[in-house]
Amino acid sequence: MADILAVARTQVLEQGIGLGQDQALDCLRLPDERVDDLLDLAHEVRLRWCGEEVEVEGIVSLKTGGCPEDCHFCSQSGVFDSPVRSAWLDIPSLVTAAQQTAATGATEFCIVAAVRGPDARLMAQVREGVRAIQEAVDINVACSLGLLTQEQVDELAGIGVHRYNHNLETARSYFDRVVTTHTFDERRETCEMVRQAGMQLCCGGIVGMGESLEQRAEFAVQLAELDPDEVPLNFLNPRPGTPFGELHPMGAVDALRTVATFRLVMPRTILRFAGGREITLGDLAERGVRGGVNAVIVGNYLTTLGRPADEDVRMLADLRMPIKALARNL
């Protein structure tokens, strides 16, 4: 049998064709002593097909907690006994958060709400917030507001939201172990509407939720089928009170193997380090950025804290990786 890294060098690096599910599984099964080779190849692929720039993004929670959905990883679900209480961010604070994000050199600012999908009140708040940010801050605005109707998709595209995040979260075959209040296909439908409306699609998920390696490979390929502009890769950060609260964080080497494999499945996407990297990777995050990742969330997350933004900016400077500059289509 041909060595998977030799195959990937030809197929992905030279031809730009992402790995299939069985090939991804072969990567995920590589022994620890070959992980450096895997990461080095993923880094070459990223440089060849994405370039050397790193995209920096900040996120903020517009509406925190009290979500009716039962995503088992999420401390913002109102279904579980989580200590997270409901909160709404006002518009001036939202604009301040966007300004703080832009000051780090970030080009993306994502407004997130813990909801099944937006109601009229939330859509009004988003309309006002997006407009206020556009008037005050030079940054691309993204949104993550759950499941959308076609009308809502069209409205968000119309007000200038350039990227919409909606994660598949995990493999189709594992989805009902993670969420029971909506389906994998409902998520997929929102993603497809977003693409068709001309917004960039940001679609990723969380690894380390108890899925098998086979399911992790399946997940990577199911993401690739959507051809997302960006894939945020989260590592489970077990939250108190949630059904996954007692799981152990993923090991660092497994996390790096996953990062590199996802890059080899999706050679051209923006692959972003998202939540959980601090507890999973610690100082090895740098290896991930030299192993396929070409985007980071800087600063804090929605309910947990991240590394200070200046530490990540310094890391990128030390790695001689330029931060992507803002480019607007006029």
């Binding site: 929670s61 997270v84 409901s86 961010l89 958060a97 994000t101």
Partner: protein, 58 residues
């Protein structure tokens, strides 16, 4: 006094893991009265408000 992460009394058990976790989390419980606080995390900080004891920031 209460652990601001888990909400149990600080004299009730070992809170070493809570302290370690708090390096990457805002407080969730008021250390004075154990009420759950309303917490807002932003890219560069957090605020936590107790209905009885006011606001903390970090």
């Amino acid at each position: 006094m209460y652990c601001d992460r888990c909400g149990r009394a600080v004299v009730d058990g070992d809170h070493t893991a809570c302290a370690r976790a708090r390096e990457l989390e805002p407080p969730r419980y008021c250390a004075l009265c154990r009420r759950r606080m309303v917490v807002q995390v932003t890219p560069t900080g957090w605020t936590a408000r107790c209905a009885e004891h006011g606001e903390r920031t970090g």
